[in-house]
């Protein structure tokens, strides 16, 4: 149905081809998943199916792409519109009209389908996707999952034989993602539609795929095979596969069900062990994580542990005069103090970093939040979860003063955020918004850093130093737009951290990040929490929450419906349980790293790095390392990690 014949694409002004050696075929009626780290050209491959590459984007396409027998060389996208339906990453950018029904009809109108047929197909599609209720709604008022379904519906009505989707579930909460995937499943099985899609959140989709095409790196030839075959060698893989690699299962499990069936032995091995207190509490073993390695390293070598470096940088400077009432005092001198057990979370002794009492927010006649109570202690990481539109972003907005509460009180570092002057507020609380680009105005990284220093009243160079810690190898002259998603997030994080706010808020930080970038983010956030930062993150990513959050707060309809330790909340919720928990229930394990450590196979110190490694290295290497692991190997461990990171950075930079 789709055939790539030795395709390579070179964009204008690019030294190297974005993809090359693409040569595979997608037979009719298959669901094929395209995976790979970010920047390896997944979107380029997808867009070449619809003809947008190269007809719309420019560049040179060598080789041949044929879809249903039509060569994209001679058929521009509009001539392929009747066989290929394409939905991009952002459904909002896809909508032409403003109501659901008109949107569904738009593609058919363009193709000149008879009015009677159009009418019938719109009704059928409304039923197929469960959109009948929404037919007259304004698209702007729909939730994320609904928008995604409308976007899929709008390309389905002309009855395309091929559906191309770019990250259809990345922005969705677990329940909405299930909805969308259920629809795709139905299209493939009932209607024989051919589906080609790319997705970072493999834990959601890999079980539905008939085949997987792996793009291992920029310019490298793709690997094609069954999900189990490809996952065995893939640098990106879901937790269930990692667990399978750890336990040495073969073939690797793709679903929780497969894994559970094989997990009996593993569960037995784990019965008498208990999960180490998870998440950032790792970081509270001060003796083990003194950033000694960093200082030992010769300057200019590969970045060791980002987390440790950030910690070092943050703690290593004399504090400025702090405003009275700021709960967390920065350590006066040296990094050792930073890790000196000051970061014991909660405990109730210290002033809370943020306190919310009976908060209500009412906007445009809708109660966005009702009677919300929340206390965040210094050093604590709290994950806000709940479906799209539950009020997570509104709560973050209220904490940073963007949203004025209609009732109730908020104290952040002793001040009411919406009444504080922005200049003062940045030293109390920082928010990395959903779209990190909103925070960046300047046209080079260097200018952005200089502006951040001025805004925060920090010493010149503060922000640049943070950027170097988080994003090694990014030149001053780079335009923020040319950074990858993960790099942009790191830059925005550095900008926010320049003012050293004791309370750090992140809105959907893992959207669009691959596993390696995510593992790095986890490392950084852990270091920050260990350093006494209170962190609140709104996320749909259950694996991320399981990884770093001490506490999970569930929001529904603007109310807090659950608030408790991560393992209690996620274990008891079927939607929010991470895969490892599901596999090993009733035991309470949350992450692969915990299991690995409990089995005595992984280092305690380089734990976040080991995570990244497991994801960026092939299985054999990871296992070999894990086996030969010892305390003395910390250094090598870190260097390997550094190399891996550098490779990833290069990959991202070249994207």
């Amino acid at each position: 149905m789709i055939r790539f014949e030795d395709v390579s694409v070179t964009y204008e002004d690019a030294a190297r081809p974005a993809v090359q050696g693409i040569d595979f075929e997608v037979p009719e009626g298959e669901l094929v998943l395209l995976v790979g780290p970010s920047g390896t050209g997944k979107s380029t491959v997808l867009n070449s199916v619809s003809g947008l590459v190269p007809h719309f984007t420019g560049g040179t396409l060598r080789g041949r792409v044929t879809v249903a027998g039509r060569d994209t060389r001679t058929h521009p996208p509009r001539e392929l519109a009747d066989v290929v339906g394409t939905v991009g990453q952002d459904p909002l950018a896809h909508f032409v009209t403003d109501t659901v029904e008109d949107e569904l009809a738009y593609g058919m109108e363009s193709l000149g389908i008879a009015p009677g047929v159009m009418r019938r197909r719109v009704e059928e599609t409304l039923d197929l996707l469960g959109l009948a209720e929404l037919r007259d709604r304004q698209i702007a008022t729909l939730s994320g999952g609904q928008r995604q379904r409308v976007a899929i519906g709008s390309v389905l009505t002309p009855h395309p034989r091929v559906l191309v989707l770019d990250e259809p579930t990345s922005a969705l909460d677990p329940a909405a993602a299930e909805e969308v995937l259920a629809v795709l499943q139905r299209l493939v099985h009932d209607l024989g539609t051919t589906v080609l899609m790319a997705e970072h959140r493999l834990e959601r989709v890999v079980q539905y795929a008939d085949r997987v095409v792996l793009l291992p790196g920029a310019g490298a030839a793709p690997v094609t095979g069954t999900p189990a075959e490809v996952m065995a060698v893939s640098p990106v893989c879901p937790p269930v596969v990692q667990l399978g690699r750890l336990a040495g299962w073969s073939p690797l499990p793709m679903t929780v069900r497969d894994a559970r069936r094989r997990a009996a032995a593993l569960r037995d091995r784990l019965t008498d062990r208990s999960p180490r207190q998870q998440g950032t509490r790792v970081a509270h073993r001060p003796a083990e994580r003194t950033p000694r390695h960093v200082t030992e390293q010769p300057p200019g070598t590969a970045p060791a542990s980002l987390a440790v470096r950030v910690l070092n940088r943050l703690g290593g400077r004399a504090p400025e005069a702090r405003r009275a009432g700021v709960p967390h005092q920065w350590p006066a001198d040296g990094a050792a103090e930073a890790a000196d057990g000051t970061a014991e979370p909660a405990g109730g002794a210290a002033d809370p970093a943020a306190e919310v009492r009976g908060l209500a927010v009412r906007r445009e006649g809708i109660d966005a939040l009702r009677r919300v109570d929340l206390t965040v202690a210094p050093g604590e990481t709290v994950a806000l979860m709940g479906r799209n539109g539950a009020g997570k972003s509104t709560l973050l907005g209220a904490l940073v003063g963007l949203v004025t509460p209609s009732a109730g009180g908020i104290r952040v570092g002793g001040a009411a955020p919406h009444r504080s002057r922005p200049r003062d507020l940045v030293r109390l609380v920082g928010l990395v918004p959903q779209e990190p680009r909103d925070l960046l105005y300047a046209d080079t990284v260097g200018a952005e850093c200089a502006a951040a220093d001025r805004d925060a009243g920090a010493a010149p160079g503060t922000c640049r130093e943070l950027v170097s810690g988080l994003l090694p190898g990014v030149a001053d002259g780079t335009h923020p737009r040319d950074l990858s998603e993960g790099q942009r997030l790191a830059l925005a994080l550095a900008v926010v951290l320049t003012a050293r706010p004791p309370l750090l808020l992140l809105d959907e930080p893992t959207r669009g990040l691959d596993y390696a970038a995510k593992a790095r983010l986890v490392g950084v956030l852990r270091a920050l929490a260990a350093d006494g930062h209170a962190i609140v993150l709104a996320t749909h990513d259950v694996e991320l929450a399981a990884e770093i959050a001490h506490r999970v707060v569930l929001l529904a309809d603007g109310e807090v419906i659950a608030d408790g330790p991560t393992d209690d909340i996620v274990v008891s919720s079927p939607s929010f349980a991470p895969q490892v928990t599901k596999v090993l229930a009733p035991q309470r394990w949350l992450t692969v790293a915990q299991v690995r450590e409990a089995l005595g196979e992984a280092p305690t110190e380089a734990q976040p790095q080991a995570q990244a490694e497991a994801q960026t290295q092939a299985q054999t290497e990871a296992q070999a390392e894990a086996q030969t692991e010892g305390k003395t190997e910390g250094q090598t461990e870190e260097q390997t990690e550094g190399q891996t990171e550098e490779q990833t950075e290069q990959t991202e930079a070249s994207a």
Binding site: L52, H55, F56, P77, E79, L80, A81, T86, G88, D90, A93, V96, D98, D102, M108, E109, S110, L111, G112, A114, P115, G130, L131, E133, D136, Q138, A140, L142, S143, Q146, A175, A176, E178, E179, A182, G365, I366, R387, G389, G401, L402, P422, R423, V426, G430, L431, P433, D438, L439, L440, Y441, A451, D455, R481, V495, V496, A499, D557, S575, K582
Partner: protein, 399 residues
């Protein structure tokens, strides 16, 4: 998906919690559809947008025929009532309020000018005398300050009211039928241009939303989020974002078949071009002939021929377009009634203006209280007809 009971407010939040085992095809959405009754649909209640524009613009014509404040007030009340009774939900249905505010502003400006600059209307009732600013001789005929007469004020009030009523009529048209819906009824040859206009129309609201979001983000950087400088600094990122979105939209439209055209013989294409160009030339020449004194003889026929040729060209050009229309708004009996009601008001007021100009234009010198002329007032009330024949879906109350 479900309405929040009692509130009547639609919210995008309610979704069926997907069970873990919910991989059953399309289970969640369909379950929701089955649970609550289908809402009655909007389309059955809509009248052709063209009918609303005819109605509103006719009322505007009627407003331009009179300066009687009572009649103008009645006209505005009629539009307000019909809009309240018939408007569809949607962001643009609030445009009536925006236009009403604009009309009020126009009225206030008109009065302020009369107070400051004086009025050409002679008047004996002096209300207040402002200090007059002496102006140099070359500014002769312009007066700043000085006597403010009651007659002058009343005259400009009447005049301002008329402009305000016109504006409010346009606002009513916008609130009742979005211009984008009107564009959907364009002939096929103009469709692609119409889409461009529609996309441009949505560009501005997106731009404003972007600017607001980015100004809010300035606060996160510790910069003040208000003031002109703040707006200027976000200007470039906002424009960049808007441009990127436009490019993404263009790509999406292209991939969905926008701009596909049928193969037509070269002969037809050439004829189309000739007819359209010739027609437009004819229209220009004809209009020139009509407007100049000496061209009275050839003006009208040339204009008509030009219009005919252009229409034929458009019709022929429509052959290249493959497009079909999904559920076009039918021009039905109600559309006739709505547009007819408007036309009747305009016609009757024009007639009344010719028959009895004094009632429609109450004098200001000498100052008299305006009287409500009975027949023209009854004619204006005809404009209420749409509110009676267009039944509004109770569920579609705009929030």
């Amino acid at each position: 998906m479900r309405d929040r009971h009692g509130a009547g407010v639609r919210r995008p939040v309610a979704r069926i919690p997907a069970p873990l085992t919910g991989h059953v095809p399309a289970a969640a959405g369909r379950a929701a559809g089955a649970r609550s009754p289908r809402p009655r649909r909007r389309r059955r209640f809509t009248v052709h947008p063209g009918a609303w524009w005819v109605w509103s613009l006719s009322l505007g014509v009627a407003a331009s025929r009179t300066s009687n404040p009572l009649l103008l007030g009645l006209l505005v009340a009629v539009t307000g009532y019909v809009v309240a009774a018939c408007r569809t939900p949607g962001p643009w249905s609030r445009s009536y309020g925006a236009f009403a505010r604009l009309a009020l502003a126009v009225l206030v400006v008109r009065l302020a000018f009369t107070v400051v600059l004086g009025s050409p209307v002679p008047g004996s009732h002096t209300l207040v005398t402002l200090p007059e600013v002496p102006l140099p001789h070359w500014a002769q005929g312009i007066r700043l300050g000085g006597r403010v007469s009651a007659e002058g004020l009343v005259f400009s009030l009447y005049d301002g009211l008329r402009i305000a009523a016109l504006l409010i009529c346009v606002g009513a048209a916008n609130a009742l039928a979005h211009p984008a819906r009107l564009l959907k009824s364009l002939p096929g040859a103009l469709y692609e241009m119409g889409v461009a206009v529609v996309v441009a129309l949505t560009f501005a609201p997106h731009l404003i939303a972007d600017a607001q979001r980015l100004r809010a983000a300035r606060r996160l950087r510790g910069r003040p989020d208000s003031g002109v400088r703040g707006l200027l600094q976000v200007g470039l990122p906002v424009l960049e974002g808007a441009l990127e979105r436009s490019v993404a939209l263009a790509a999406a439209m292209d991939a969905r078949g926008y701009g596909r055209s049928a193969d037509v013989p070269d002969r037809v294409r050439r004829t189309t071009a000739a007819l359209t160009l010739g027609g437009l030339l004819g229209v220009c020449a004809g209009t020139y002939g009509l407007l100049t004194a000496e061209g009275g003889g050839y003006g009208l026929p040339l204009l008509l021929a030009g219009v005919g040729a252009a229409l034929a060209g458009l019709r022929l050009g429509g052959r290249r377009s493959l497009r079909t229309r999904y559920r076009p708004d039918p021009w039905d009996a109600r559309a006739w009634l709505v547009s007819g009601a408007g036309a009747a008001v305009a016609g009757l007021l024009t007639l009344a203006g010719a028959r009895d100009p004094d009632a429609l234009r109450p004098g200001v010198v000498p100052l008299v209280a305006p009287a409500l002329p009975l027949w023209p007032a009854a004619a204006v009330l005809l404009g209420l007809l749409p509110a009676l024949i267009v039944v509004k879906d109770p569920k579609e109350e705009p929030s």
